[in-house]
Point group: C2
Chain length 405, copies 2
């Protein structure tokens, strides 16, 4: 299940970034599960990683290699190479060496990524056998194949592109992501690969990515479980004819950063729509909070509440559960008399209780659509935040009870 | 569903505390849903309440009346009188007045409690009509009836008693509780009523209750949702022939406090066993944490993870999810090399990954029982904490999707 109509996104190629896929047969032999990205020489790379202390071996290695002028990414689905100790580290390094041997680069110029089940050793031989095919497949036009190859429990591939004009020249941003379960905002919360032909120094690239991730992937939650393998990478080839972006204060940077943010937000929304077992998409919009952190905290508390999520699954306007979640979000000195809550425009809470204008019929109507805006006004500041989430369905339990079988 | 064999607890009467029930027909007309407790004159009362900012009207009124030498409690199930604004406050006060009119007390000597659906107005007339029957029913021997009358989605009544010897005299402690969903440690997380014939000043009574609640009800979580109506009350009649307890440093206090703690822990465990849709009981035991707060935080993170809870439902030794939950619990500078995790005595994690001795067969065997101990050793301090929780099943979703229908 997933929320809304599936659209196959149009993915624009990025000059200077090539993508190749192959089937290593890690979990299934019927579809590609291995991806190699190649960034042209002279490009730059930025990344964000999970904050989970038990981060996977590939995350540790990718962090080490990020500062070494990396040019390749190797990604496998079907196995997370997490919780695998010293042997997992050897496997992650061996993947990098295998790519280096095929491409003529150095092992520390390769960033490894894995996604899938935790705690099983990476089938290194399968990967080594399939890598030559993935490298031979490298092309600027293979984003669609990569988008599918990185999927695990995803029911839909996720991709997005934007083209922006900078001084009469086009700069393009294209991204793909995977993520459906173990999704909770804490750095990246999934795998995302975004590339651009813009030219800009690495610190600016990192700044643009970090902010975009904060406003997109870190604002999506499916189950509150921050993964061990989350990562998001931004590759910049500099192949666009647009002038180099040299300052974070320039309008060029603003235009570029907005395009990266738009791509990341579209990918993040696609992840929420495809949350495990999802039948509804909820936009939890908190306004008039004291600061952004408070707004985020309240939105997250509502978005993570199993009772709220099951009520949405049932299309039941059991708004008392939303009120209870706001009340336990941990805001100091919350004045409940000032809080209003609206469900798709229907006022449900004001003056500390049920809105006098509320009727069960209006509530039922508000809960019927597949997409629901939950607007919470705390009435005490100027900060806002939107978090996207999905409902908790029978299929969520089914998918996660049967994941390894 | 519930975990383990249902035992009808033997509930010892408390001299000086009488209990009466009646059927007000608030949600169903087939069972009692109204309880009145009466404490003999000269007794004392202590209480803990939910920290939810949207606390229910009866919670606000009960807090006001706690300092007024209260002698009665009035409890209804089937309606929480929460999210009901000014009208809800009037209803809560009116319930107290109705009890006062029947018993000859003052309205501010009555503490009101409600549990059930949030956001609907209390059917005050039904309660007023049934109250005379409940008051006429007052008896020291009606704890069993009260235990059933306070239930909502509970599938089992919950009660416990202890008798302790103090200087050759018996002091008795009896408690009942309700709770199955919207259960998460933050003060009381359910309704609990505990009574004793011990004689001790109110501050000591409050101290004993607060500590017992911290170690029992605040260590149980079903769904992470702290209710709007949580409360736990301890009534002390002083009718025992045992000497008065006058100091928190005395052995008498220690014996009494241990009995209160034992009753609260037995009730708390009964709540976890009866968690909505529960098929398994998990004891998340964190050891060697830097402090109790850290131990509690790690245990809670594991206990609340939907991915961990669905894996337990499936009896799937997907221990990577436990490892991932520990890793995201927010401990600073966690050295994952020092952490060990055991499932019912089977070592699953050590040295930062899967234990070399671990086999899938051993993991499957460890996950098979209805009760599972998850032992997490952080290897960095001397503090420990145990949190009880249950699994996430199809029935959890079913119960909460259909709660109001």
């Amino acid at each position: 299940m997933a929320v809304g109509v599936a659209k196959t996104p149009e993915l624009l190629p990025i000059a200077g970034v090539r993508v190749g896929t192959a089937c290593a047969g890690i979990k299934r032999t019927t579809r590609d599960d291995l991806v190699v990205f190649e960034l042209a020489e002279g490009g730059s790379m930025a990344a964000t990683f999970t904050r989970n202390a038990f981060c996977a071996a590939p995350v540790t290695v990718a962090k080490e290699h990020l500062g070494q002028a990396p040019r390749w990414l190797v990604v496998n689905s079907g196995n997370a190479n997490a919780g695998t100790g010293a042997r997992g580290m050897e496997h992650a390094r061996a993947s990098c060496q295998a790519v280096a041997a095929l491409t003529g680069g150095a092992a520390n110029q390769v960033l490894p990524f894995s996604t899938g089940v935790i705690g099983e050793y990476l089938p290194l031989e399968k990967i080594a056998l399939a890598l030559p095919e993935a490298v031979a497949d490298l092309s600027e036009n293979h984003w669609h194949k990569a988008m599918t190859a990185i999927m695990t429990t995803d029911t839909r591939p996720k991709g997005a592109s934007r083209a922006v004009d900078i001084d009469g020249h086009t700069v393009t941003v294209t991204g793909i992501a995977k993520g459906s379960g173990m999704i909770h905002p804490n750095m990246a919360t999934m795998l995302g690969y975004v590339a651009t032909d813009a030219r800009l120094p690495q610190p600016l690239l990192q700044q643009a990515l970090s902010r975009a991730v904060e406003l997109s992937f870190n604002r999506v939650t499916v189950d509150g479980d921050t993964s061990t393998n989350d990562a998001c990478v931004l590759l910049a080839s500099g192949y666009s004819s647009a002038p180099a972006i040299t300052s974070a204060d320039s309008p060029h940077y603003a235009a570029f950063a907005a395009a990266v943010e738009a791509v990341c937000k579209e990918l993040a929304e696609a992840i929420a729509r495809d949350g495990e077992g999802a039948t509804k998409l909820m936009r939890i919009q908190v306004a008039k909070a004291e600061d952004e952190a408070e707004a985020h905290q309240v939105a997250n508390t509502v978005a993570l509440s199993p009772l709220v999520k099951t009520a949405f699954f049932a299309s039941d306007p059991n708004w008392g559960r939303i009120l209870a979640a706001v009340g336990r979000a941990g805001c100091d000195n919350l004045d409940i008399e000032r809080i209003t809550i609206d469900l798709n425009g229907v006022r449900i809470v004001e003056n500390g209780g049920r809105a006098p204008s509320y009727t069960e019929e209006a509530g039922v109507a508000a809960m019927a659509p597949e997409e629901i805006v939950v607007a919470i006004d705390l009435g005490r500041g100027d900060s806002a935040c939107e978090v996207l989430t999905c409902d908790f369905s029978f299929d969520y339990v089914k998918i996660n009870a049967e994941y390894r079988t």
